[in-house]
């Protein structure tokens, strides 16, 4: 994998480059990381979508779309995610490398210029407010995104489990803010919020793929923004175990279980490995024992998030089998804790993770996701280092990690057919 280079443009702004001419595209992204706050989440969550709608140079949404199409289908992206207790607000631009632009355009200059406009010169009206039509459009679409999340029962069950796990804390705040908060948003609330974000957020900029950026260009433009923040995982606090069942008129019930653990940074790979042995690849216990041997479900997977200090197990099951599948998951976890781990399970999990880690550099999104995640750990690792680390763990280490999991939530979305 080509080398990722990291430059501190200022105390609050980090630039990472991954220059790989083999990629036929480039990607430039600006990620703003702020602690999630109940009173600001909805406003901040709307901003990436608002600023990418129109800029002073391209004041019309359709005209901006036309310019992007002309630039060989380049795309201006916006996204909001939660990483632990942080809300991560991102704007980005993706497009083809200059050597494929048959019109001779300098694609880096074009795309970086567009992104710069989005960040520093989004369209505002004469009162300094985001235009009303764009504000109303984006607010409506945020509410429809909530509807969409409700309609997808896998997403919904995961979100409910996550909410229950972190209820009352910053990690439990929805990435887009609550429905009521979005409905209550006023244009005036947003007027200075973007500047406030640029001033206070930890800024992570990525320049990736087939391009050759001028670092000074970035330093000149971005070093004046950003706040100096130390990022870190969700602090571990042992909470009471919660069991919640809700009913909906659906054909398949969903089971979502969460476990918490106090995981120091040096144990990150160990817990990833433990999750993989339990329920990620097809050689894992959940896949082999619950799906393949007992035919109880189509999917039953685990996933571990170090930043959240949580392991999730999720499955779609027949309502009558909810108890059986929950018991079967606990049975497999118990086997893991007792060290009942075969050579094949351990090797399968290690090779699966190594394969994924070695492939990180094959996609620009993969590289960005990896290093954004690393910014939460004091000591950053390359994917290759992480792969090397996890190979050293034994079955006993994995069992020991499994014994540190504390059951936290069992959420059931119970189906009752029409």
């Amino acid at each position: 994998m080509s080398q990722v280079k990291t430059y501190a443009l200022s105390e609050g702004v980090t630039l990472r480059t991954f220059l790989a001419p083999a990629f036929k595209t480039m990607r430039i992204s600006v990620n703003l990381l702020v602690p999630a706050r109940e009173d600001r989440a909805a406003a901040y969550g709307l901003l990436p979508y608002l600023v990418t709608r129109a800029t002073r140079r391209y004041p019309d949404y359709t005209a901006l779309g036309g310019r992007l199409a002309e630039l060989y289908g380049a795309s201006l992206g916006s996204s909001v995610q939660k990483i632990g207790e942080y809300q991560v607000l991102s704007v980005s631009v993706d497009g083809i490398a200059s050597c494929y632009a048959f019109g001779g355009e300098n694609m880096f200059a074009e795309l970086a210029g567009l992104l710069l406009d989005v960040v520093f010169d989004p369209l505002k009206d004469s009162d300094g407010l985001f235009p009303l039509d764009g504000f109303l459009q984006e607010k409506r679409q945020q509410l429809e995104q909530k509807d969409s999340d409700f309609s997808d029962k896998m997403i919904y069950a995961h979100q409910r489990c996550h909410e229950l796990l972190f209820e009352g804390g910053p990690a439990g705040i929805d990435r887009l803010g609550g429905r009521k908060q979005i409905e209550a948003l006023r244009r005036e609330d947003l007027a200075s919020a973007w500047e406030e974000l640029l001033d206070q957020a930890k800024v992570e900029i990525f320049v990736l793929g087939g391009c050759a950026p001028d670092l000074e260009w970035f330093r000149e433009r971005f070093s004046g923004i950003g706040g100096n923040r130390a990022l870190g995982p969700v602090p571990y606090t042992r909470t009471d175990f919660r069991r919640v069942t809700e009913e909906q008129t659906i054909a398949q019930s969903k089971l979502a279980m969460a476990f918490r653990a106090d995981v120091p940074p040096e144990d990150r790979q160990l817990f990833q490995l433990m999750s993989a042995v339990l329920g990620e690849p097809t050689s894992s216990k959940l896949f082999q024992k619950i799906r393949e041997e007992r035919g109880l479900c189509y999917y039953c997977d685990s996933a571990f998030s170090w930043v959240n200090g949580a392991l999730f197990v999720e499955s779609g099951v027949e309502t009558k089998d909810l108890d059986r599948v929950e018991a079967a998951v606990l049975e497999q976890l118990s086997a893991l804790r007792n060290g009942e781990i075969t050579e094949a399970e351990l090797r399968g999990a290690k090779l699966y993770l190594c394969n994924s880690l070695r492939s990180v550099g094959d996609s620009l999104h993969g590289v960005e996701g990896w290093y954004l995640g690393q910014s939460f750990a004091q000591e950053e690792l390359t994917p290759e280092q992480a792969a090397e680390n996890l190979m050293k763990y034994t079955a006993a280490d994995v069992a020991e990690a499994a014994n540190r999991l504390v059951p936290a939530v069992v959420y059931r979305l119970k189906g009752s057919e029409c």
Binding site: E70, Q137, R140, Q141, S359
Partner: protein, 431 residues
């Protein structure tokens, strides 16, 4: 083995294509820079190939719906060690999927390519089914079907096809139904395997790092000389009209989901046809189009869910627009009006120019991904088409060729499929 080199100066890539002595078509696309290599073994056998005629036999055969998908699930199992366990030994990430036109077995790896390739070529040719294992799989596939029953995007799509087609098998769910899979026996699966899983009905595509001679040698070792496939898939005569113009279903959703589109002619298509339709759709409904803007301004769609596609295969083709909408009827009306207006006024030149560039950019971007390229190559090859010819066709496309495709979008052959929130939803089931 002889290799044909196919190059595209336009995108700076090349690949190799050859026919193995077993009849297997092999496509090898070098990508020296990435870490992972992707392999696809595609079989030209999908959910639409449910009826077929064996050469020399008097009566055609029909399989229960979902047979191709069931076979895909079961092939991973063997008398000794299942394929997943074997792939776990090499570290390859393996999967499979069944579509309307083909079944594909895939893996990606960063190491031990030839060991994984050997497993792939072996298990796909080694059917092993018993009453017991087939019965066990029924529970797993049953759960997969139940999962799709709750999925608004899945339901709106298959309802749409069911309304559009009278008899063409594309109207059936790829995975079948609980009733149809209950009828599938080991004998059915062996019969389908025998009918369709011959090397001459398969394509092996590898994208990444490999040695061509080693791949050919492995195919020599793994593929026996088997006579070319002796079955002909059968398709009923599908009328040009739609079966019904509206279809609706209620599900536990918070916002309606719709698909609206047109039934197009089912005749075979070439790369130029695909390019012309792609550009037309981009002009009509991309982010830069007046239609997209109108739909947004009237709050009839949202950016995250609205999409459009040209969905086509053997004997079927349809243009589909869809997404979430609080008023699907109005959204469909606006789409229809735009198609009508463009039919009368023609395609604006600037929009045509942008759409061509945009689609070219999409193609170039897609070439980054080994998995994407492997799938693209396989899909094109099964339709008798070629990737770089498609990219060239885009560049050479004229506005008249794109306008010609507007004739395929006839109002009397349109369908609107809608998923609505439950009328009887409990309070906690609404947002």
């Amino acid at each position: 083995m002889e290799w044909e080199r196919i190059a595209s100066p336009r995108v700076g890539d090349c690949y190799y294509r050859g026919r193995h002595s077993s009849g297997l078509e092999i496509i090898l696309y070098p990508k020296e820079t990435g870490s992972s290599t992707q392999a696809v073994l595609g079989v030209k056998y999908g959910s639409v190939h449910n009826s077929f005629q064996w050469e020399g036999e008097s009566a055609p055969e029909a399989m229960p719906e979902g047979a191709a998908h069931y076979l895909e699930h079961k092939l991973f199992e063997s008398e000794e060690e299942d394929a997943f366990a074997r792939f776990a030994e090499t570290g390859a990430n393996a999967n499979a999927y069944t579509g309307e036109e083909s079944t594909c077995y895939v893996f990606s790896c960063t190491d031990r390519l030839y060991d994984s390739l050997k497993i792939l070529l072996d298990f796909v040719q080694s059917p092993y089914f018993t009453e017991e294992t087939v019965a066990k799989e029924r529970g797993i596939i049953g759960q997969e079907l139940t999962m799709y029953q709750d999925s608004p995007s899945w339901r709106v799509f298959f309802n749409y096809l069911r309304a559009m087609y009278h008899v063409h098998p594309v109207r059936e769910d790829v995975a079948g139904t609980r009733e149809s899979i209950a009828r599938i026996t080991p004998a059915h699966l062996y019969r389908c395997h025998e009918a369709f899983y011959s090397p001459s009905n398969m394509i092996l595509a590898i994208v990444g790092k490999f040695d061509r001679d080693k791949v050919a040698a492995l195919c020599d070792e793994m593929f026996r000389l088997v006579p070319a496939s002796r079955v002909e898939p059968l398709f009923p005569d599908e009328p040009e009209t739609v079966a019904r113009s509206r279809i609706e279903q209620e599900l536990s959703v918070a916002i309606p989901v719709f698909q609206f589109g047109y039934k197009c002619g089912g005749a075979p298509r070439d790369e130029k046809d695909l390019a012309a339709m792609g550009v037309l759709l981009s002009v009509l409904a991309s982010d830069a189009s007046p239609l997209f803007r109108r739909l947004l301004d009237q709050e009839l769609i949202n950016e995250s869910s609205f999409s459009y596609q040209y969905f086509e295969g053997t004997g079927y083709a349809t243009v589909i627009f869809g997404g979430e909408s609080k008023d699907p009827e109005r959204a469909a009306r606006l789409i229809q009006e735009e198609v009508r207006e463009m039919g009368a006024k023609g395609i604006p030149e600037e929009a045509f120019h942008w759409a061509k560039r945009s689609l070219y950019g999409d193609c170039v971007s897609s070439l980054n991904s080994a998995a994407g390229v492997a799938q693209w190559l396989t899909d094109f090859a099964f339709q008798g088409q070629e990737l770089f010819t498609y990219i060239d066709a885009l560049a050479e496309l004229t506005i008249e060729q794109a306008e010609e495709k507007l004739k395929d979008l006839r109002e009397d052959r349109s369908v609107l499929s809608v998923i609505r929130p439950l009328k009887s939803a409990r309070k906690d089931e609404t947002q």
